[in-house]
Amino acid sequence: MSERKLRVWQQAGLIDAETAQAIRVWEAENGRPLVLWAVIGIAVLSIALGLISVVAANWEDIPVLVRLGVHFAILAGAALALWRLGHDRERPWREEALLFVFGALGLTFFGHLGQAYQTTSPLWQPLGAWLVLFGPLFLLRGKGAPTALALIGVLVFAVWDYAVWSRSGPMEVLRFAVPTALPLAFAPIGAVLRYREGRTWFWQRLEELGFAYGLGGASLLAIIAGFERFSRGGDSAQMLQVILIWALAGLVAAALTWRARPDPSGQAAATVLAGAAGILLLTWPLSGNQVIAALLFMALWALVGWMALKGQWRGVFQLAVAVLALRLIVLSFELEDDLLTSGFGLIAAGLLILGIAWGARWVARTYAPPKAEDAP
């Protein structure tokens, strides 16, 4: 909350001194300390990176057993501290930071083991083991964005590493498409649990990240569809099956989100997920053409913009307008290769970019819904 704004309003006679003071008190008690969260996030991340470096430095002089023993003892100490801290409603960031460090220590322990015993394994194996071992604790005690990001980040890395490793052999389509669709599950899970559990802040982040994974994936596929024709070539049938599985996952996630959150914001999120699934299905027959791929991409983001209006997500609306404008600019260069070579072409391109940017800015400002707490 801006102290400067409060003073300006008070001077303008909009609020009196008592109201201003009441606002200050309320904000001090209920405001989310965003700066504090950011600082803690950076600090915790730096600690985690430092831990990785320290393990990687591989002190030759310390016997393996001692090294691993110390690492394990720190892990046990962190677990004990987490137990004693309990659910800290006053200072959730302490718990969050400790949880994050505990998780980072656990992940580096796998690397440390491999280094000490000279074993190598594909990356998805330690990441998967970490999810099994630490996932329940993170879901049980996560309080905010750092733990939510850690969960989804590890899951996304693990499933894609697995998918790339197991591209041949029996049931290759299933083994590729099903794991890579998994992160999407966090969208409905977050949607269901944000109302049932106390930790709205954590579940909301998880829901948003699952939603972003689906939307980002569909956007990426729509971009690839511009220069790759999925329906041709030796693996076109597999590609179709993969897309069908992904689309089905998107539709299921959309339906569950719709059921869990019957409010406008939840319905908008579900509609975007369903729309992303529809775009995925269209990329298979329509891929291989720049213009059509760009239209698919823009259709998806136009839907995002429209639903952002319905769901009152201000930031997402502005993002959608910006993404649409960028895609338009890129498309104009894709279509007119010689725009850049001639002087008139350059002038025209510059004017076009200015026009699109101005138009996008105008739309984003004029039609953006007011700031709301409730992002998708």
Partner: protein, 168 residues
């Protein structure tokens, strides 16, 4: 469900899982016999990535052309290898007493029966990189061959390279 119990279980699970992983890794590292094999740097430009050195095996009795990720049988008395020959492995059991299993090749670093990597400290890795590049030195890898055909590198030593027979 008792929430405190759930909480204890969630906190204990990582410790138990990591501890079990440590125990099994430790036990596995004690299985098998120790052997020695000459090695060469994997790629003359880049042996060192992070804190490990990469190398290719120079199996005695195998031509360079026969390299490739295949199942190999080692003959001799540990740690000295007398002869190595390739076998076709249908994946059903052990092809011979001391065998090196083939694994799916990975682009970028040698694995299976072609080569491997040895984690070490940064200083030592740099020194080993120079020694691997030195034509007068021959690197010898001491490794443990586990019963499942996997090679666990133990250490890298260097000795003067025997004189090459004159090329015709």
């Amino acid at each position: 469900m008792n929430r405190a119990l759930l909480h204890i279980a969630a906190l204990a699970l990582p410790l138990l899982g990591l501890g079990a992983s440590w125990l099994t890794t430790d036990r596995a590292s004690r299985q098998g016999q120790e052997w020695e094999v000459p090695v060469q740097g994997y790629d003359p430009r880049d042996f060192l990535q992070g804190h490990y050195v990469m190398f290719q095996y120079d199996w005695p009795g195998l031509d360079e052309g026969q390299l490739g990720n295949v199942t190999l049988c080692l003959q001799g008395t540990a740690p000295k290898i007398d002869k190595v020959f390739r076998v076709s492995d249908d994946g059903s059991g052990k092809p011979c007493a001391n065998y090196v299993a083939a694994v799916a090749p990975v682009r970028g670093f040698p694995n299976g029966s072609t080569g491997g990597r040895l984690y070490t400290s940064q200083d030592l890795a740099l020194r080993m990189q120079q020694q691997l590049a030195d034509p007068k030195l021959q690197g010898v890898l001491r490794f443990r061959l586990r019963p499942n055909g996997k090679i666990v590198p133990l250490g890298l030593t260097f000795r003067p390279r025997p004189a090459e027979p004159a090329q015709p």
